[in-house]
Symmetry: C2
Subunit: 349 residues, 2 copies
């Protein structure tokens, strides 16, 4: 028999199908459910096989492989980061992901992850803010209005009850784009001319600027007490956003310290700079926000377990939909030792 066996086929989610899947679920519901999957995996943090990502640096960017496993399922993401890509009309970040069974090594899902990474990054920020932001926060500032901006706003709305967003970017065209996209979605949107103006009255301040440099988006005198800073743009060596004085004043929360100390805003601080791991806050091992006056800061860089959660979520949510196509990816002859015979029979066919 020359038909490939069922094991030969792996479900693949294209960009188009990912968009269809997200719309079938609803963007806000998808963000909420994703945040729950991520939080569930943070709860069982100790169980995961954790390695820093494997990065290949070049003049213009980086290509990374981010694997992890919970012992049952193995996942990895391929992702690049090339800041100058936008000048050529290309995405700064593109990504692909794969999920496989640990017991057999056979892939069970292959998917686009450019969109999925945007969703999981926003869901992670909002899941963290649900634990750390001051109670009753209804206004957020969004500094940096690039590809991640609207996802952040929608996740904070869906998960933390944000009603108003104050936008600022050094490029007014980026702010106009974010304003145009967000205004029809029921958020009260204000475009601002300075970062100072944007943070007025905001209980959550998100920084997600894109330039690969040591930038100072927020300085100490700008930040009062009782806010939560969601600092996600400083995410690789040589790329930071937050002035060290703010880091010294704040309680700093991170995903995986060995990675964040290299890639996050705390790369500016000594190796023993105190941080709290988010999984410990979520499981109750460590304290999160303890007072209304406290300044909390999430130094988010993106960790493999969040991609793993996102891949699990897509696998589960695909059931009963037509949002995947089957790819003939695995050579699977009837007699597993007869790979060459399978090749020869294909010629005859």
């Amino acid at each position: 028999m020359l038909e490939p066996s069922p094991q030969a086929f792996v479900p693949f989610v294209s960009v188009e199908n990912m968009m269809r899947l997200v719309h079938q679920i609803g963007v806000e519901t998808a963000l909420k459910e994703l945040a729950d999957y991520i939080e569930a995996d943070f709860r069982r943090w100790e169980l995961f096989d954790k390695t820093p990502r494997l990065a290949s640096h070049s003049r213009d960017g980086v290509i990374e492989l981010m694997p992890t496993s919970d012992g049952e399922v193995y996942g990895f993401k391929y992702v690049n980061g090339h800041p100058k890509n936008t000048r050529e009309g290309l995405q700064t970040v593109t990504a692909l992901g794969l999920l496989a069974e640990v017991a057999t090594g056979y892939p069970v899902l292959f998917t686009e992850m450019t969109l999925l990474t945007a969703l999981r990054t926003a869901a992670t920020s909002a899941m963290v803010a649900r634990h750390l932001a001051p109670k009753g926060t209804r206004t957020m500032a969004l500094i940096g209005n690039g590809a991640q901006a609207e996802f952040q706003a929608m996740a904070m709305r869906a998960i933390c009850g944000i009603e108003a967003v104050r936008l600022y970017d050094i490029d007014p065209a980026a702010t106009r784009k974010a304003h145009r996209n967000l205004a029809p979605l029921g958020l009260e949107v204000t475009s601002c001319r300075t970062a100072e103006e944007a943070i007025e009255g905001a209980g959550i301040i998100t920084t997600c600027t894109a330039d690969k440099q040591y930038a100072t988006i927020l300085t100490d005198n700008m930040i009062g007490a009782g806010v939560h800073i969601n600092a996600i743009g400083g995410d690789c060596p040589g790329k930071t956003e937050i002035h060290p004085d703010i880091l010294c004043r704040a309680d700093v929360f991170v995903e995986y310290p060995p990675q964040t100390r290299i890639e996050g805003d705390i790369q500016q601080m000594p190796a023993d700079f105190p941080v709290v791991e988010m999984w410990e806050v979520i499981t109750g091992k460590a304290k999160g926000r303890v007072s209304d006056r406290q300044l909390t800061l999430f130094d988010g860089v993106g960790f493999a377990i969040e991609d793993f959660s996102a891949l699990r979520y897509v696998r589960d949510r695909l059931v009963g939909t037509d949002c995947a196509e089957l790819l003939d990816m695995i050579a699977d002859p009837d007699d597993p030792r007869d790979l060459f015979g399978m090749l020869q029979r294909a010629r005859a066919a």
Copy 2:
């Protein structure tokens, strides 16, 4: 505009299309050309970004990521190794590979690599044997008649001029399968009852057994002078085939010593056991075979650069064929910062 841009599409080679491509080229021509691509990359060995593979071990097997880059192109392979899979009718090894542009991080090829790995493993063995086997060798022994066996025989025929193959496996059914596949292809095939019988008169002795254990397929008294041993089955920690006494007598050649000392047959030897790197033989920096009486041994474990060569080969050979389909893998909005707008417009469409 709602059509994905050309950058959104990545050529994908399915198992079926890989088989079609190989047959359009011809199995022996493909093996020869692949060996030339691999040899070309061994010649520029020093230029590559080399890291040991990133392995995730579990009770029943291992899942690995094998990346490398020549500065222009980046490639990686996903590959598993689960010896007990065959008992459930599954492949021991399945693999997938991706090639991307270093300058942008955009993928340019995604392909099945189960078949391609079988081809590149055999092409590497034969390329090495072309440098090391005694001149005029026309007979090879093939000990271990699993999924890799026939590929080895065909590559040795195409690249080294082998005319006769002597088969042995502890499982006679495996030998029958290899005999049946090879006999129609113009090789003189002899099935043997013992390993001793198989190596009679053979100038090249290939060991490619599959069990994950410290096995001794070849012992010292079996091996005379003036042969080349192609030892490729001992390729992960705890899996060896060759008695240490043979390793002591032989000149041992390897791909990448840091990996081979962990995974190869030389894992049985001290950390300073002398080995010669194949790329040095190929570039003339080191000597290969220097006499007819010499015993040479290639302790092959498979290295990322060989997969890189194979991916380059497939990319080049796809040109002008219909052996790839285009997958909508990369989210690529017209304005790269407008990822969210692209998602919203997809709902409207």
